[in-house]
């Protein structure tokens, strides 16, 4: 064993003079950094601020006595994510142990009073996962179910006032709504850009190019200013306008991904379909789009990660997303010296969610590649 690891390190770490130099600087440096970070985290950091302000970090200023509403929303989100996961990644018994571990970690962080709710959420997640893993029929209802789920979330979260949404829940909701809504709009735009009708083509192209050449923050701010002026009687909440801005912006990106997928479909496919006498609409719906989407699913999942990471920009229109919630806690003079604790927590949560999304994207890619091999 020792001999093997020695051989391995001689080959990989100390093979050439340059490798030796690199290893001698990078390895001790990294170890030193890790030591410093751990020493701080264990010895100096005062982590009590995290459990104390966890509710604010998770749901912002959403009233505490209405917190059950946010749990319902979290359960719906868990069901949707579980169902989506089941489509590409079959549930195995060993995953149950993993979920139990996640539960244990979450409960140890938040205290036992959330045990029942967290268990329920994870059970719902696992059930949805199992359902789509083993009942292929259920996958067909996933798309209508996600729209219904989003509407249900809005219905259950709205009564206390949409202006109160915040924290990590807001970031996740914004990401979900944008990801789900930008897909159909993006597909339509992608087809519009390839359309035979030049007016449709020009409008779609102009839309995509304009959106892609301006920064997201500008689009969000514009929509926020313009909507109450254009539609005073609608009186949409800030959070809805934020979602509209994000959806309009990311639709253009989705359109470009989908277009690249459409171009990847071999011409022979459409010609064969045409020679069978299929209509243009049927060709696009049953032949071109399924093959195109198969190609672009991995970049589309990457796009979801982009949306999640861009979500903090909504602070500009006064929304309290996850990052802003952390800053809001630090604004309290009594917590002024906990900057590093709060930001470390934000960092790890973002890192965790981000790596989950990239993990799913990698699995998806592998799953889809199986068919084309």
């Amino acid at each position: 064993m020792i001999a093997r690891s020695l051989t391995w390190s001689r080959h990989n770490l100390f093979g050439k003079p340059f490798d030796v130099l690199l290893s001698l600087t990078v390895i001790p440096g990294t170890l030193w950094l890790i030591y410093q970070a751990v020493a701080w985290a264990v010895g100096m950091a005062q982590w009590d601020i995290i459990p104390q302000s966890l509710r604010v970090l998770m749901i912002g200023i959403f009233p505490a006595d209405q917190a059950w509403r946010s749990w319902v929303a979290v359960a719906i989100i868990a069901a949707l994510l579980g169902a989506a996961l089941g489509c590409v990644f079959a549930f195995r018994t060993r995953h149950a142990g993993f979920l139990a571990l996640v539960l244990a970690i979450l409960v140890s962080m938040t205290g036992v009073n959330t045990l029942a709710a967290l268990t329920a959420v994870l059970v719902i997640f696992a059930s949805a996962w199992i359902l789509t893993s083993y009942v292929p029929m259920s996958r067909r209802v996933l798309i209508p179910a996600s729209f219904t789920g989003l509407i249900a979330i809005f219905a259950v979260m709205s009564p206390p006032g949409a202006g109160l949404w915040g924290g990590l829940l807001l970031s996740v909701l914004l990401t979900l709504v944008t990801a789900v809504l930008s897909l159909p709009i993006g597909v339509l735009l992608a087809f519009g850009r390839r359309s035979r009708f030049s007016s449709l083509r020009m409008i779609s192209t102009a839309y995509i190019e304009v959106m892609r050449s301006v920064p997201l923050i500008l689009v969000v701010y514009w929509i926020w200013i313009l909507m109450p002026v254009l539609t005073p009687e609608l009186n949409l909440a800030d959070v809805v306008r934020g979602m509209v801005g994000f959806t309009l912006f990311y639709s253009a990106y989705v359109a470009e991904y989908v277009r690249s997928g459409l171009q990847a479909v071999p011409r022979g496919q459409t010609e064969a379909a045409r020679s069978l006498g299929m209509s243009e609409f049927d060709i696009n719906r049953s032949i071109v789009l399924p093959q195109a989407l198969r190609v672009v699913v991995p970049p589309l999942v990457g796009n979801v990660l982009d949306i999640f990471n861009a979500a903090p920009l909504v602070f500009i229109i006064g929304l309290t997303d996850f990052l802003r919630a952390g800053q809001m806690i630090l604004a309290n003079p009594q917590y002024g010296n906990r900057t590093y604790e709060v930001y470390s927590f934000l960092f790890f949560t973002y890192f965790l969610v981000g790596s989950l999304i990239t993990f799913v994207a990698r699995k998806l890619e592998a799953h889809l590649a199986r068919g084309s091999r």
Binding site: V210, P232, G318, A331
Partner: protein, 343 residues
């Protein structure tokens, strides 16, 4: 939305902005709606921030929102806090998304002349101050010739300091900058700076939260004035007057010794001015389109100006800002908090 649409939307926006000026006063809209949309910050300690223990918004600006809701609608709980940032606060008022903004906004001429807003009375006087260690023996700014000053990166304070040096012909003085207040304070303690300079309200909070507050001295000089006031959309005198006099009401209440605690007693007072001021048997409210007891309602909700100040910024809070000897004291005590004559 293609380019043509954006242009069209812009035109509509302009037209609607113009149209909104011709429509009814915000006062009527607020009364009809039954809630006040009040723009505040949520990351400004002492002014507008979230108390994470109670889950409630707190601060001087937040209390002013509550006072206005109580004065206009008779119920301080009918206020909806809309978070605005330094960037969005003016647009929020111009597009009627909020009825009034209280967000530690410095009153400057360009803000009233080029943005269509009108300011309300000053509710807090801040300014750039200088803090030194007590052991240095420095008593006033002019003692600091040749000293090293520290401030935060990219703040206006840096410019303020260098122009103060130029005005006094100090060539040996220099400015060091740090990325945040925590590092700045550490630099003062370690002796790398002779003086630390930033907003006076922040200086007091840092000294007060330290283990030994007596080790620090905030110099009496104010290098750059920064008066804060709420604001409303321009050209709506009815709304602006109602809010101005609601604010003055809080100042006058303190001057007349009417507080949250003794309000019930004062409502039975025989003093004709107190009676009229609190709206007992007819008051000042009707002509503003407000209930006659609007000042009494505001006091009942948040207390007079002195109480609001003590609750959010005073020496008993984490802000440690003493009013004594500052413009934030009542004019009768040498400050600048002043209400015009009521009767």
């Amino acid at each position: 939305m293609n380019f043509k649409h954006i242009l069209m939307a812009g035109t509509f926006a302009g037209a609607a902005l113009v149209a909104s000026h011709a429509s009814a006063s915000v006062l009527d809209t607020v009364k009809q709606r039954g809630t006040l949309n009040c723009g505040t910050d949520n990351t400004a300690p002492g002014f507008g921030y979230l108390n994470t223990t109670t889950g409630q918004m707190e601060g001087l600006d937040v209390d002013f929102c509550k006072a206005i809701a109580a004065a206009v609608l008779g119920d301080a709980s009918k206020v909806k806090f809309v978070t605005v940032t330094d960037k969005s606060r003016f647009d929020a008022v111009l597009t009627n998304q909020v009825d009034v903004v209280f967000a530690h906004t410095t009153i400057k001429p360009a803000r009233e002349s080029s943005i269509a807003i009108d300011f309300l009375p000053i509710n807090f006087y801040d300014g750039t101050g200088v803090m030194v260690k007590t052991e240095s023996g420095v008593a006033k700014f002019d003692d600091l010739d040749g000293a090293t000053f520290c401030t935060t990166q990219g703040s206006v304070t840096e410019t303020v300091l260098t122009s103060a040096f130029k005005a006094r012909g100090w060539t040996a003085s220099k400015v060091l900058t740090y990325e945040n207040l925590e590092k700045l304070f550490a630099a003062l303690n370690s002796g790398r700076c002779n003086a630390m300079s930033t907003d006076k309200s922040a200086l007091a909070a840092w000294a007060g939260n330290s283990p030994k507050p007596a080790d620090y001295l905030i110099l009496p000089d104010t290098l750059d004035k920064s008066p804060f006031g709420g604001f409303v959309v321009a050209n709506d005198s009815r709304w602006r007057n109602a809010l101005r006099w609601s604010s003055y009401g809080l100042f006058q209440a303190e001057e007349s010794g009417i507080s949250q605690a003794n309000l019930d007693e004062k409502l039975k007072s025989e003093d004709p001015f107190v009676q009229k001021f609190l709206g007992v048997g007819g008051g000042y409210g009707k002509d503003f389109g407000l209930p006659d007891d609007f000042v009494a309602q505001a006091i009942k909700a948040v207390g007079n100006y002195g109480e609001i100040y003590a609750r959010n910024l005073g020496p008993d809070t984490k802000m440690f800002l003493d009013r004594k000897g500052t413009p934030n004291a009542l004019w009768t005590e040498g400050g600048a908090i002043y209400s015009p004559l009521w009767n």
